[in-house]
Subunit: 477 residues, 2 copies
């Protein structure tokens, strides 16, 4: 807290207009006696509320404490698991204790993919266990495993050049150096089917992420309809590099993969919804949220326990200050983002009739790191409002507005009803070190950052819910 | 290489005398036409040789390549394992190919501790697997495991305060924050017996190292004779912190530990020895070496494949330049440093008659990171020589002489015959991140650092083996 305050304070020194504004708000008048200088007229009346929400967020460690309790107690929360359902029930109880309105679990049927036991090993010319994680949605192997020669490629082009003659009956390793997630995740999501089309019998993937401490990364694959389903697993960067070096010494490598991965019968899960009902237009909704499900490694603290807790905390802060905006603030903790998106689709369908009254939808699923601002997808007139509102977050440095925003869980709302969507944008430097690994635990996140992120969401959501005019959008409601 | 050269070159600019000296040696005259300015008279004649050894080390990546081949091919190398013996045979063959003299495997009987399957889990009030590694030399549990209430202490004082009433029949977790290895490793080596004396039935240990990516650290324990032998395992820092947080919320925790750990019959291993026989006093020996065995996780690249390869490479560099010092240079790759030290003791006993002619013994077992100089244990007159010789390493910045030096494998020589001992001292900032973990792989080490370390050992060892007077020591030979 001390460290960040110092930085913010130096920003204040460079912005005398805002410094004056902050000083004049120390008395916590709401609305302030006069429009704050330097702010657009529409959002200026919210300067006092913003300041109070930021202070309230800073004064208590409850977001971190709550995230610790969630992740310590329930651990990882894969769709279909007991731990996810227990976490949902707990969170619903806590939301009620927080005094949120209309807290309810909205049922969602989710897939139940089960990892089971798994292992991968180099078996010839030498024998070594590989640090691995099966990919989500993968099929398993026969109980005795799959053993075959290993073919290593750097990219899809090299795979295609090998063709069926070089791939058939073999296990393919995509040894693709990590650049960006966008560029490399395509090997995780489509690599198995692309290798299978050429006759590969299993697929290994260099983990999609920077080198860790021999840390494999899981994540979902998608089988194409026109290719055999072959088992697929990620291995640690170090293991991929080792296999490549051995191969480059002219050795023929044989690998054995064993996976019990399988789908079991769909399970009943839920989206958790809580609200602060609007005082004037309760049918108009500003949605904020994250996803409570996680991969079955680590404790899903960063992805996306932190997003859940920060958006939930945003409503708690509004409530704590005794505020009730014009429109309804709704927090949704979605289920099944990681391997199915059924929570998001169920929300869209269940709330189809009211989507035209979803004024905005804000998702936090980039990790609870220092907030920088928001991504926004919507019409220009709305972007202006968002940009103006973000100016209220200068005390925590979260004023940047990115060219697009949203996320997996709110994108169906944009597609179905042109709901303007935002993402909480954060400093993502460390995100892909932990993403989908056993190291996604609360140790990666700080109370300061969770407080700042909660404040950023609270201020933006409150303003959007309270502005006299609703946020402009593409198609009229 | 570029990066480090830049740094070295900036050192040269600040040291005009040495810059002149290096420039005058570009012609590679050996010995140089006149004593080099700025160097003590005794070592000045070696300035040319030093320069050539450093250049030779830089010009080829063979140390890194060799370490990669060792660790990729044989993997980890615990005493009693097939992989250790295969690695010893391979290294002996390579040493012969290098043209070293008297290459031989000197038999050593070593303990064979086998980890077997192992797991630890919190089982109540919630159930979560813990990231764990059994401690070396630990006994196992019954097949069904040991399950009991968990008691968490910060240090031995807290354990003693609890006494038998608080400890008996329970599992003790030493949740000791990492400060230095020296301060915290005592919990790993003696914690099990200290807990057992109070009636604990198993011991867990927060890993001895900084937080990683949920990375447990193994390492040896020592059972005291007067305490029951209870099973003991290390857990990741994050898991220890999670258990503590749960406990601090007032929960009673139950943990289940299952370990198949056991000792099997002793196995036959060996120390690997290779030499460059001295041209004038072949019976006088300058020993350099590391240990080829490792823990059974990672690939033992840092601990201590790198030390083996650098000290071995030192002799190879001397050989490559066609040099033969006055005394014998001997490289020893010791076996069983990690869990028994039987290699070091066997060497001491087998070579008892010639220990008085061991002029110095240099061990590299601190990781193949940028070399800073040497630790030295010996009489002051010898320290002066060592300090003078290290001046020859100014081009690679390895001139610092620490107050004590040696290591586990050469310390028996010092104890038995006052052999002066040195350690290669390196930048150790990252060492304990990887130490005894699955992440101890060649990715942690660079070709530049291995080359610099090899050069540092080569220069120091060559000078000590070639100086007209042998290094002074406490007791006369």
């Amino acid at each position: 807290m001390v460290r960040r305050r110092v930085r913010r304070s130096s920003i204040l020194h460079r912005l005398p207009a805002l410094a004056v504004c902050v000083a004049c708000l120390a008395a916590r008048a709401d609305p302030p006696p006069a429009p704050a200088p330097g702010l657009a007229a529409a959002v200026a009346p919210y300067a006092g509320v913003a300041r109070r929400l930021i202070e309230a967020a800073r004064q208590e460690p409850s977001a971190w404490t709550r995230l610790a309790e969630l992740t310590d107690t329930f651990g990882h929360r894969l769709s279909g698991s007991e731990s996810l359902e227990a976490a949902l029930r707990w969170a619903a109880g806590e939301m009620k204790k927080d005094g949120l309105d209309n807290v309810r679990l909205e049922p969602v049927t989710v897939p139940r993919w089960v990892r089971g036991r798994e292992s991968a090993a180099l078996v010839a010319p030498v024998r070594h266990e590989l640090a691995m994680l099966g990919l989500g949605n993968s099929v398993g192997t026969p109980p005795e495993g799959i053993e075959a020669e290993l073919v290593i490629v750097r990219d899809f082009d090299e795979l295609q050049r090998l063709g069926p003659a070089g791939v058939k009956g073999r296990i393919v390793l995509f040894d693709v150096p990590f650049t960006t997630y966008g560029e490399t995740v395509v090997y995780r999501s489509t690599g198995a089917s692309r290798a299978a089309r050429l006759g590969a019998i299993a697929m290994l993937l260099r983990s999609v992420g920077p080198i860790g401490l021999r840390t494999p990364h899981t994540g979902a694959l998608r089988y194409a309809d026109d290719a055999p389903k072959i088992p697929a697993a990620s291995i640690a960067v170090e293991d991929a590099q080792r296999l490549r070096r051995l191969r480059e010494r002219g050795l023929t490598l044989r690998v054995r993969l064993r996976m019990q991965a399988r789908f079991e019968a769909d399970a009943l899960s839920a989206n958790l919804v809580g609200e602060i009902v609007g005082r004037e237009a309760p049918h108009e909704i500003v949605l904020v949220g994250g996803h409570l499900d996680s991969w079955d490694v680590g404790t899903g603290a960063m992805d996306d326990g932190g997003g859940c807790v920060m958006t939930w905390q945003a409503l708690r802060l509004v409530r704590r200050l005794g505020l009730r905006p014009r429109r309804t603030l709704r927090v949704v903790l979605f289920t099944n983002e990681e391997n199915g998106l059924r929570g998001a689709l169920a929300y869209r369908d269940r709330h189809a009739a009211e989507l035209s009254d979803h004024v905005a939808a804000l998702e936090s699923d980039s990790g609870a790191f220092p907030p920088l601002g928001f991504g926004f997808s919507g019409v220009d007139a709305a972007r202006t409002v968002i940009r103006d509102a973000a100016r209220l977050l200068e005390p925590i440095g979260a004023t940047r507005i990115g060219e697009s925003g949203g996320g997996a869980d709110v994108s169906p709302l944009a597609a179905a009803a042109s709901v303007p969507t935002l993402s909480l944008d954060v400093d993502g430097a460390r995100y892909f070190i932990y993403h989908h690994t056993q190291a996604d635990t609360i140790e990666r996140l700080s109370a300061e950052d969770l407080a700042s992120g909660s404040a950023a969401v609270a201020v933006m959501a409150y303003v959007l819910a309270d502005l006299p005019q609703r946020l402009p959008r593409r198609s009229a409601p």
